[in-house]
């Protein structure tokens, strides 16, 4: 990796100063994503700002506005949190299934949300869009792990964050501070679909810091299901999270969010529409699953993900309903 300048601030204010530059700057949290990218020369920052000594960034607290999760909270601590475990099983489940215990011991919520795509063309030095001589290597090449939605565009990678999916389903808000002050945006708005190879898939401006995410108070039935080849040390192929505001026995307002299918965490509006006003039955889940694949345009190798979208949407909904029909007796 390229030699770099290192700083280790202890307050958010100092962190912001250090993040301002000069040169290219990267924040370093758990390092499980950034260090690998630096070793592979995918990222070669002039300066690295270590965030784990900024104690104010870590911790989980219940406030009047909801549950606040500091960006520096380690995944292992998030997965052990009793409130999360009890009230937010979708988030709990997504967290415990990330990577391996070693990764969860190091990785943080902020780093997880802001990690860069794992697309092997990006990681092998062909840029975010994976192009060579103006042609898409992804479209022509091995795209088994790539997107099936928005594939008319040039961004064919998938967003890599497992946590983004339940957080968006739970309508979580992200707090971002920067030179211009603080702003709060929905977690969804941390992401964008890049239009060109100079664009980023993250909306955070250089020098900005994610400080926390807040899950609004109020009861939301939630569920999660991920399909993954290996039991550990692996990524989901496709995952779905649902957050449902119930009106008695029927779904009032529901969110259905998918991992592994688009360059952004993918909200399936069709599935959300299919469950509105419905009771959480297998029939509803099947209908939502069928709706969720509308508009999918798989690439040459990843047609199998269509089946996985159906399954994960169906199972995430039924997980929320407590009907885990797929579990072995």
């Amino acid at each position: 990796m390229k030699a770099f300048e290192y700083s280790s601030p202890t307050t958010p204010e100092d962190a912001l100063k250090d993040l301002a530059g000069p040169g290219t700057v990267e924040a370093l949290s758990g390092g499980t994503d950034l260090i690998g990218r630096m070793k592979d020369y995918v990222a070669s920052p002039d300066r690295v700002v270590y965030l784990k000594d900024v104690k104010a960034l870590a911790g989980i607290a219940e406030k009047s506005g909801g549950l606040e999760i500091g960006a520096g909270t380690r995944l292992v601590d998030l997965s052990a949190d009793p409130i999360v475990r009890k009230r937010l099983p979708a988030l709990h489940q997504a967290t415990v299934e990330v990577g391996t215990p070693q990764i969860r011991n190091m990785a943080t919520v902020g780093g997880n949300l802001l990690q860069r795509p794992r697309c092997w063309y990006f990681r092998n030095g062909h840029g975010l869009l994976g192009t060579k001589d103006g042609k898409s290597l992804v479209r022509e090449g091995d795209n088994r792990y790539h997107a099936i939605f928005l594939t008319e565009g040039d961004a064919l990678f998938i967003n890599p964050s497992s946590l983004a999916v339940p957080l968006i389903a739970l309508n979580a808000q992200a707090t971002v501070v920067g030179p211009g002050g603080e702003r709060t945006i929905p977690v969804e708005k941390l992401y964008q679909v890049p239009k060109s190879s100079d664009d980023r898939e993250l909306t955070l401006a250089p020098g900005e810091l994610l400080t926390k995410v807040t899950i609004p108070a109020g009861e939301v039935k939630n569920g999660f299901f991920e399909a993954r080849q290996k039991q550990s040390h692996d990524w989901p192929l496709v995952a779905a999270a649902v957050g449902l505001k119930m009106n008695g026995d029927t779904v009032g307002d529901g969110r259905v969010v998918l991992y592994g299918v688009a360059p952004i965490p993918w909200r399936s509006e069709a599935a959300e529409k299919a469950i509105r006003g419905k009771a959480l039955t297998r029939e509803t889940a099947e209908a939502a699953a069928a709706a969720a694949v509308e508009g999918a345009k798989p690439l040459s190798m990843n047609g199998y993900k269509v089946a996985l979208v159906k399954t994960t949407v169906k199972r995430a909904l039924l997980d929320a309903a407590g009907d885990r029909y797929w579990e072995e007796a």
């Binding site: 092998n124 290597l137 290996k230 039991q231 047609g303 089946a307 996985l308």
Partner: protein
């Protein structure tokens, strides 16, 4: 003439490996852990391109980088052709690994990039760029026995299907490499991660113009080779040259990406098989067209493998690609041949509506004779019966009847065979010292098979000592010539000369101390750490050895007849669940039944079988070298997207040693290769049994399973 003891005290029992604790606790020093004083770190610069000509190499920028002590070009400007990504270009030695990496990157290489073919598909395409001037394929003439086409006409049931297995790599946990340490201008000591200390020594002699007497290669322990680590390799020779130039030792190990790209691989296999049988379940004909790629090397595999088909034809085509060259990998060819043949057998049994277990037994040769007058068919019959019991084959149900919910359960089996005999020209020295210490010496090495422990077990058995009392010194090329660890030959090659050496040393000891005890040598015996004269305890082992005075006993043992044999069978059963809504396969249980003659240490023997099964499970479920047609690069040269089982992916594994009196009298046979052969085949068959559909492509990934289900639905 030496013979194995009839009622052994230690042989065949479960004895923990001598270096087990050191390995498990991290205290064992692997070759890549060795840090001699003044060590420099070597880094290999490899080609980013899959096909190119090297136009120019400028080493100067690297030479002037901080901490750089030596730089060496490995490719020749204007001459060298690059055939695959990762191929060697240059090497650097510097004070730290980081500095060496920076320096390697600073080397300026000018390439003329040529078009490439990265996959079999790309290679076989019309007008594809050529890997060899003669072309990208080499088709062997079909080998025909009998009249397969005619015979096929008479079959009552015929299946025709194409099965495929990808290229996989060895993924040695410790990458290929060595540390070179010059002891003088013409003398070198090398710490190598190798399965052949003699092979590495020989390469050093030949490439560096040294005398054999001045080359020492040491491999105390090592982190896996699986057939890919018999030589010093270009980077190992480069380490020695850099060390010479810098005047300091140099450590040079591949990084993980290079390990995948140029450390070797198992060739892919594709087989279009037409297989026919009569109603009574007898095979009548096979027609097979097969192909595979070993990079620029061969990819052949055995067919119809363990089964008997009199009328058959087979045509194999080599496909060449711009990918790293194949190297021997645990049972070369067999896992591929086993997987495709066993899949075809299973599909045909399903078509005939016959229990696949009975179908297999009905199609073995009547007499499949291996060494020692053993009919392997008889072995298979008993082994399959034992395996069936252990897996619970009575629960087997035909395809399509294995669960109402999304989780289907399935059972599968497969048979395999291997040689596993030893070489007859190896030696072991045994030294009994006056202080009572016992040392064995040989230029073989322990690649995890337990060679070190096994030799000590033999010595302890003969001398009436405990295993821990024997110093088993192997992994040193200056010792008496030992076997390279490949092809399951190490134990059958080394155990006989070890027995001979220890018996000779014991007899010499008796001869020398008998007079002082007023006894004849033949009156002496050893038991429980004591010396006995005419059956009566006379001295402790230490006291007995002290009688040697200043002169140790030394003896060199050689191979003797009747102590080792060759030719084994085995079978494996798999139980899996498949979630048909996600395509995720979970292996629940593997049963491995294996014969291998006389088993010397049941614990290290079983450990080989466990390791073989786990390797086979990875082949069955996870592994695949993924090449990119656009860039010619390997897309997953890591241990993340190149998938391997973690602890939680490992099922219950039941190892059943087929260890009968008839097997023991055969003598020692190796077990490194056989238990890895049939696992992927058994898993594939269990998946087909579970979901009612053949998944024609390994690994059994969600993608391949869901694609097979979708294809079947499309057809239905």
């Amino acid at each position: 003439m030496a013979s194995w003891p009839e009622s052994p005290r230690l042989i065949g029992t479960s004895i923990p490996r001598l270096d087990g604790l050191a390995k498990a606790s991290g205290r064992a020093k692997y070759p890549s852990d060795i840090r001699p004083e003044g060590l420099l770190f070597g880094v290999l610069l490899s080609s980013p391109h899959a096909s190119a000509k090297v136009k120019a190499i400028d080493l100067e920028p690297a030479k002037t980088m901080p901490g750089v002590k030596a730089v060496l070009a490995l490719a020749t400007a204007g001459e060298s052709t690059i055939f695959y990504q990762g191929q060697e270009i240059a090497a650097v030695a510097a004070e730290t690994e980081e500095k060496a990496r920076d320096a390697a990157r600073a080397i300026r290489v000018e390439y003329e990039i040529l078009p490439h073919v990265a996959t079999e598909r790309q290679s076989a395409a019309e007008g594809a760029p050529k890997v060899f001037p003669t072309g990208n394929t080499r088709a062997a003439r079909a080998q025909t026995t009998g009249k397969p086409d005619e015979a096929m006409q008479k079959a009552d049931a015929v299946i025709e299907a194409t099965y495929e297995l990808p290229v996989i790599t060895h993924v040695c946990l410790e990458p290929h490499g060595l540390t070179a340490h010059w002891k003088g201008p013409d003398s070198i000591t090398v710490y190598a991660s190798t399965q052949s200390v003699m092979g590495v020594a020989n390469d050093m002699v030949e490439n560096l113009g040294l005398e054999s007497a001045n080359v020492t290669v040491l491999t105390d322990v090592m982190g896996g080779g699986f057939g890919s680590k018999f030589n010093a390799d270009t980077w190992g020779i480069a380490a020695a040259k850099l060390a010479k130039e810098a005047g300091r030792p140099v450590r040079m190990f591949l990084d993980r990406a290079q390990e995948h790209q140029l450390g070797g691989n198992r060739p892919s296999a594709k087989a279009k098989i037409k297989l026919g049988a009569a109603k009574d379940g007898k095979l009548v004909a096979m027609v097979a067209e097969t192909s595979g790629t070993g990079g620029r090397g061969g990819s052949n595999f055995p067919l119809p493998y363990v089964y008997k088909v009199d009328d058959r034809s087979r045509a194999h085509t080599e496909i060449f690609v711009n990918g790293g060259s194949a190297r021997a990998m645990r049972a070369p060819g067999h896992p591929q041949g086993c997987a495709v043949m066993e899949a075809a057998m299973d599909d045909l049994a399903a078509k005939l509506g016959i229990n696949p277990l009975a179908f297999r037994l009905a199609n073995l040769a009547e007499a499949d004779m291996v060494a020692g007058g053993v009919n392997r068919t008889d072995l298979y019959k008993e082994q399959v019966e034992r395996g069936a019991k252990l897996i619970g084959w009575d629960r087997w149900k035909p395809r399509g009847q294995n669960g109402d919910g999304p989780i289907k359960r399935g059972l599968g089996l497969a048979l395999h065979q291997w040689g596993g005999g030893g070489a007859q020209d190896k030696q072991v020295a045994c030294i009994i010292n006056p202080d009572g210490s016992v040392e064995l010496r040989s230029a073989t090495q322990d690649i995890g098979t337990g060679a070190r422990t096994i030799l000590a077990v033999i010595a302890a058995e003969v001398l009436g000592l405990e295993v821990g009392q024997i110093k088993s010194n192997i992994g040193n090329s200056t010792f008496p010539p030992g076997q390279s660890s490949g092809g399951s030959t190490t134990t059958p090659s080394m155990a006989p000369p070890c027995l001979d050496a220890v018996e000779k040393a014991r007899d010499e000891l008796f001869k020398r101390i008998a007079p002082g005890l007023d006894a004849k040598p033949e009156d002496l015996s050893l038991k429980g750490g004591k010396l006995l004269v005419k059956g009566e305890e006379k001295a402790t082992w230490a006291q007995a050895c002290r009688k040697l005075g200043m002169m140790p006993v030394t003896a060199t043992g050689v191979f003797g007849p009747g102590l080792a044999s060759t030719g084994v069978g085995g079978c494996q059963f798999a139980e899996v669940t498949v979630d048909v809504e996600t395509g995720v396969v979970r292996v629940k249980k593997i049963v491995a039944v294996q014969d291998s003659g006389l088993i010397l240490d049941m614990l290290t023997w079983k450990s080989q079988v466990y390791g073989g099964v786990i390797g086979g499970l990875n082949y069955g479920l996870f592994e695949e070298r993924i090449m990119d047609e656009g860039t010619g690069a390997m897309l997953n040269p890591d241990m993340e997207m190149y998938k391997l089982a973690g602890a939680t992916d490992i099922p219950e594994i039941v190892v059943d040693a087929y260890d009968t009196p008839e097997m023991r009298v055969r003598g020692v046979i190796g077990v490194g290769e056989p238990p890895t052969i049939s696992t992927a085949a058994a898993i594939g068959n269990a998946v087909a049994n579970a979901i009612g559909v053949r998944v024609p492509k390994w690994p059994m990934s969600p993608m391949n399973v869901l694609d097979a289900l979708a294809a079947a639905e499309g057809k239905a």
